[in-house]
Symmetry: C2
Subunit: 444 residues, 2 copies
């Protein structure tokens, strides 16, 4: 075949970048588990009917077809790749509800696919790391406060810029528009959601054209969308606009609880931002978006919200709340700007040098001894001159070369950075912790 | 939506089974890294032209189409889901050859998709765990010996039945058929590969019908296919059939090296089995298949081989050798037969009991203290009676409940298995290692 070229929108990482990704994912995983979330993985495909019922991304779905499917064979017709992890998880909960304990805390780290036009931060295949809590019949509001704190905990300590979470509540927007007398509050939410793209004037025009909003109504909607505060003061700002509605009251109380708890437990993390809407139709309460300091242009790197009716089979309803970290979006930006890398491109800590090909089995045994002490070790590919074997280690950042027989007659270990070579006790030697595994660090 | 039902061929695990899968994959990963393999992940899709060039599974490929692709928009036409991890990896190596160090040792654990008829051990979506070593221009034969030993190391200690690896070499089959005067040796390999399905008589019939093989040739082919030995004695058995061919000699020497080294380093692991062929066209040297004791009916649970020309762009060639563990096939069989499970269905080791909803923030802080010592902790969902909170922990197998204020006035910890409850020092208490995380065990 010809030398292949990358596919736009389907990023792949080099081994050193993959080590960063692995360690980031391991940190997320470990934190989620420390908070009691169990891992779930769902199949990559869902029935199209299920995918198409769930909001605006449905138009970007990839549909599957078996290459050799015979005429009339519909076994796999109507399957598409999932575009997020929330819709499959809601289906998994419904399907297995008799075998799960509720409230059910799960995390899920998998790729998703959307046939969108690729651009910075937007891929056609991308990894998401989701946490959700789903309960039966009712879901206590305290989970809407808990999830942002878990996310902050998960990202803490990673070489990633600070995050800011922008939070709103669908009930606030919907109640406000309803109290204001707007004909179609859900459509108003979708229009206001475009404010970052088309600006306040554009939003005002759409509200007037599509929903017959009066000048006063447009003005109130735009004032509401401008409200933002890191504390509960947004409540007074909304009240000052003079709209009253029961759902609005409910939403304001819920949003105030999220913002005030977050302000106490993780100062600077959460801002009430009444312009936030989220495109997906299934949200019914708190909605979250997250920006990465210095990378606001990427859009949200961690989004989600509360969904009360997504997982329902008519008889039973499982309301949930979830947040989803855009792993590929974050890593793509960090790699693209040279902001994070790994100390080497291989797990190998020690290369066993090979004096001659006939000694390979002996060298394998030395390697095995080190592996029993959790030291990643490989034997040199060929019995080249030692200088060449040392350069092979250097090129890949392997910190140590073990010589089976040094000048001392026994095995010697060489630190390839200092060039220092010393006799080594095979039954006790171990490298410093910082050399044991590749580590991730800021910068290139 | 209606209550959903499982999709045949797309297995999903319950949380407790997923914990088993996670720990099995973690063991594979850790072992591969100890042997110096770096992780790579490739996108799920490949150009169809690339997938279709690579042998018999191509007919089972899933093709993608964007739901809303407009007439004449061919951006994603011609993409299909990969059916294995070898073909994508060969493409990755060609694409990135200037940025990789050779020989390149990589592992890759991802799902693959094939539109096959689902049956026991055969899924339409399944996880594979692959190791490969790819070099530039030439690849030393010692890697064909090394890989089976790495696999044995990776599966050791897991609650999985013993494996037996059946090894052959394409050069042996091809050289033997050629030396015998068979017109199309590659076609003869494909026919003999069917011996398990259609029996020796069926194979003989096909050889005669399709390749005009004489009775003597058929007899020699079937005698060759019956040869099997755990040591080098297979060489004499082949010689006794009286066929001479240069390629056959080369293959016998290579296969003898694999079998004799494995016999010395891992007795019982490898058998030379001259009936093994592998369906895929890209193998050129050693080929491997692996059976699981007691589950021979599943077919191979770890297959692979040497491929000399798969990764080639005309100018440069990157020969490789690889082995692929069928993770879903093995786990599906173990789960289906109740042979392995986890000690609980959640990572949570401690549930903090909640005396009243107003105390939630205090309880969160207690949980945080435990998490700093790596103890997975969650706070009770609601301030129910303590009996109910204890039962909530019991149902999910959480071993400990922490009460913020016991009779002693301070926090107390209760082991829910013994019912014993004792005052606890929040700054030092930690559960026994066996309770810290769910563990996997044989049986249900």
């Amino acid at each position: 075949m010809e030398r292949p070229t990358p596919l736009s929108g389907f990023p792949e990482w080099l081994p050193q970048q993959r080590i960063v990704e692995q360690q980031v994912i391991a940190k997320l995983q470990r934190t989620f588990e420390l908070h009691g979330f169990a891992s779930v993985q769902t199949r990559a495909v869902e029935p199209m009917a299920h995918l198409l019922a769930k909001g605006e991304t449905s138009k970007e779905v990839y549909v599957l077809r078996r290459l050799q499917a015979e005429e009339g064979d519909n076994t796999d017709s109507g399957l598409g790749l999932h575009f997020d992890l929330t819709v499959p998880f809601a289906r998994y909960v419904l399907e297995n509800s008799g075998k799960l304990q509720f409230p059910f805390r799960r995390y899920q780290i998998q790729p998703c696919w959307r046939g969108e036009r690729p651009q910075e931060g937007r891929y056609r295949e991308f990894w998401q790391a989701d946490i959700d809590i789903i309960d039966k019949d009712t879901l206590p509001g305290h989970y809407e406060v808990e999830l942002p704190l878990v996310i902050a905990d998960a990202l803490r300590g990673l070489p990633i810029p600070a995050i800011r979470m922008h939070v709103n509540n669908r009930k606030v927007s919907q109640g406000f528009f309803r109290g204001l007398g707007i004909a179609d509050p859900m459509e108003a939410i979708r229009i206001v959601d475009k404010i970052d793209k088309i600006g306040p004037a554009g939003v005002g025009k759409l509200l007037a054209e599509q929903l017959d909003a009066t000048d006063a109504q447009v003005k109130a909607c735009l004032s509401m969308a401008e409200i933002s505060s890191p504390d509960e003061s947004f409540v007074d700002a909304v009240r000052a606009l003079g709209v009253t509605d029961e759902l609005l009251d409910e939403g304001l109380a819920e949003l105030a609880a999220v913002v005030s708890t977050a302000a106490a437990e993780a100062p600077g993390l959460v801002t009430a931002d009444l312009r936030i809407a989220r495109g997906l139709d299934y949200y019914t309460g708190t909605v979250y978006e997250t920006t990465l300091d210095g990378f606001e242009r990427l859009g949200s790197v961690c989004s989600g919200g509360r969904y009360d009716t997504l997982a329902s089979d008519g008889k039973n309803t499982f309301p949930g709340v979830g947040l989803s970290i855009g792993v590929s979006r974050i890593l793509g930006a960090l790699f693209g700007n040279g902001l994070v890398s790994a100390t080497r491109e291989t797990p190998t800590a020690v290369l066993v040098a090979l004096p001659e090909e006939e000694r390979r089995r002996d060298c394998d045994r030395l390697a095995r001894v080190l592996r029993t002490r959790d030291i990643a070790t490989e034997v040199a590919p060929a019995a080249q001159k030692y200088g060449k074997q040392i350069r092979f280690a250097q090129r890949r950042g392997i910190p140590y070369v073990l010589f089976p027989e040094g000048e001392s007659g026994g095995p010697e270990i060489r630190d390839i950075r200092s060039g220092e070579q010393t006799p080594v006790d095979m039954d006790s030697w171990t490298p410093p912790v910082a050399d044991l595994r590749p580590e991730i660090r800021a910068g290139e």
